[in-house]
Structure formats: C-alpha cells, structure tokens
Amino acid sequence: MSEIKKATDNVSYNGRATVVKGLKSHANDPFFIKKAEDAKAFISKVVLPEHLKK
C-alpha cells in the first residue's frame, strides 16, 4: 500500500520542476560525454534545410 501511495505522490499533471540547490551535475560523467560525442558525430553528417537554419 505504501508503494502505491509513493507512486501516486510521485506523479503530477501540470507540475513544474522542483528547484533544489546543489544537485550533482553529471556534465563530466563518461556516459554523458560519450552521448555528446556521438550526437556531434551524427549531426556533423547531416545538413539542415536552409529554412530551419534561421
């Protein structure tokens, strides 16, 4: 029952982010570094249509 209550409390319909101080940044985490590298490699191969560059 407590699990159900916990799940219900965790869901919103129009909530905004809760801003907390000092949440650990993962900017230098290997997972995210690799994700950025992969995304850069992918985007370097494509050309956006001119009308989308504006």
Partner: protein, 153 residues
C-alpha cells in the same frame, strides 16, 4: 501538455532527475541537455538510468517498469522547462540503438498530438531530415519549440 508525469527536480534547468516507480522498483532517471552545435544551436537530449549504488548511468538496459508513457511525458516536460530557460533551440533525440530509437518513436507516436501543440517535430532517415510522420521509422528526432505568442495584457 497536461499528461501524467513524474515529479522532477533540477538545479540549473540543464539537468533533471526523477524516479520511475513500477514493478521493477524505483529507478533514478537523469536527463541532460548538451550543446552540440552553434549556428544553428542544437542541444542533444541525453537520458539514462542511474544505479543508486554504483552511480553509473546507462541506457543499455530496458527498465520494463511499465511506465514508458509517464517517463516520456516527464522527459517532454523537461524539454519545455529547458526551453523556458535556455531558449527555443533545436533539440536532438537519438536512441543508443535502433531498438531504443524505435521505442522512443512509439512513445512519440502516442503523444504526437500533445507534442505538436508545442513543438515542430522532425525525423532523420539517414542524413535526410523530414517532417515527422507516425508511419515512418526514423534514426533520430529533432524538435524545436514553436514560436510563442505572448499576451502582454
């Protein structure tokens, strides 16, 4: 976009965390927006599960927590909040594998009406970019928030 979503928190509006709750337990999710290009500015949306014990993040495991729609709605909310704070730039989303990209697409298909109310949605097939259609399999997705009309009354 008033779909059920998990409560999520942030410090800098560039990175967000929330908890998926389901049959597989409580799984911590991290969403991070990474600038990958200038002119035009494109951010990558990176997203993974964090092991609470090791701290390792990965997206190789399918959680099977039976809450995919709530998770995707939560990620959509973070996109909106990110744009509120960093501007309406292009945001790239690509799964780590074709299977995962397909899972993302299934989620997008389900939410497409809601997503299109706020965003222009495109899909890549190979190097080509197209307007998103639900019956096409894409390699990656690009979204950009539509121009907003502000009411200054």
């Amino acid at each position: 976009m008033n779909l059920p979503h998990y409560n999520y928190k942030t410090t800098d509006f560039q990175e967000y965390e929330f908890y998926s709750v389901g049959p597989k337990g409580v799984i911590k999710k991290i969403v991070r927006f990474q600038k990958i290009q200038e002119e035009p500015v494109i951010y990558n949306l990176a997203f993974g599960d964090q092991d609470e014990i090791t701290g390792d993040i990965n997206d190789a495991v399918t959680s099977n927590n039976e809450d995919r729609d709530i998770v995707l709605a939560t990620v959509s909310r973070t996109v909106i909040e990110f744009c509120d704070h960093y501007g309406d730039h292009f945001i790239l989303a690509k799964g780590s594998t074709p299977v995962r990209t397909r899972l993302y697409q299934m989620g997008i298909n389900k939410l497409i009406a809601e997503i299109r109310s706020d965003f222009d949605v495109y899909g890549f097939t190979g190097e080509l970019l197209h307007k998103f259609e639900t019956n096409v399999n894409y390699d990656a997705f690009l979204v950009k928030r539509k121009n907003r009309i502000f009411d200054h009354k």
